[in-house]
């Protein structure tokens, strides 16, 4: 079963997203802040197949995290899930290496399709 790692500062969004992912047959790993996220990423026993990343969060924020992942050579595909519907933001995320950008509220079909695309390439 593929493992999806979700980083979102909203407990509500994490719950909604994990329900969709579980329904899609995925195992989930959840983090509410960047500290827990990066700590868990260092755990070699649980390497995620895909990361679902929020953008607007306290601290670094999704764009900065995308940049950091890229610079540190992390090759796990990233799907950005954000309430920000601006075209410019979408383009920026794709430039920074995100495989797909989906908008909140999370919608099962859209999110699962993006995850599938991210994992299968």
């Amino acid at each position: 079963m593929a493992l999806i790692f979700v980083l979102d500062d909203s407990a509500f969004a994490l719950k909604a997203t994990s329900i969709i992912l579980s329904g899609g047959g995925y195992e989930t790993l959840l983090a509410e802040d960047e500290e827990d996220f990066f700590k868990a990423l260092k755990d070699d026993s649980k390497v995620p197949d895909c990361i679902v990343l929020d953008l607007l969060m306290p601290g670094k924020g999704g764009i900065e995290i995308l940049k950091e992942l890229k610079e540190s050579g992390v090759t796990i595909p990233v799907v950005v899930q954000t309430a920000d519907i601006q075209k410019s933001v979408r383009e920026k995320c794709l430039e920074m290496g995100a495989v797909e950008v989906v908008n909140k509220p999370p919608q099962s079909k859209v999110l699962l399709s993006a995850i599938k695309k991210a994992i299968e390439g």
Binding site: F12, A13, I85, Q86, S88, P105
Partner: protein, 204 residues
Amino acid sequence: MSNLEFTKKQRDTLKELFNVGIGRAASNLSVMVGARVELTVPSLNVFSFHSLGVELEGIGLDDISAVSQPFSGPIAGTAMLVFPRASALKIVSLLVGEESDSAKQELKKSTTLIEVGNIFLNGIMGTIGNMMNVEIGYSIPTFKEGTLLEVVKDNSKPSSSVVFMVKANFKVERSIVEGDFVFLYDGSSFDKLFSALDRVERLA
């Protein structure tokens, strides 16, 4: 422009931008709660910061739960999603499926409402940003309870002296949930707004 008078054309353009944006936000909310969301046409008002009390007196929102999200760029200011407290509890119940009077829900209320606000307000401001072809930067949304006047004062800059307020009401079908979108434009940067509006009008 310092007199802060919108031309009829600018007012129409602004109204249309907010109309489309609020429509998108309502569609997001509708997906979240699984019911149709009805909207009113947004109203636009410009007044001085010092007359806030008088302007908001008749609105009757004395016991509200509000999510406020500041934003920056050509249309800098604060967007707010405002619920009468009973509606706030109801919408949280709809979303998390718990009894409205539980202590746990009180605690969850801000987390859930902040996410609802984030999605709703980004729907509006993002649509407007896309239509104006400008990039809007967002800050983390915050939650506050009180009167509308208290929340608006918290989010206004007395130094800017002028408040440009857009307000629209929405209702979730088959439930008692209703709320308002309130947008406060930072009065210190009206020139940027007028330039952005002129660009939109030229494209239209």
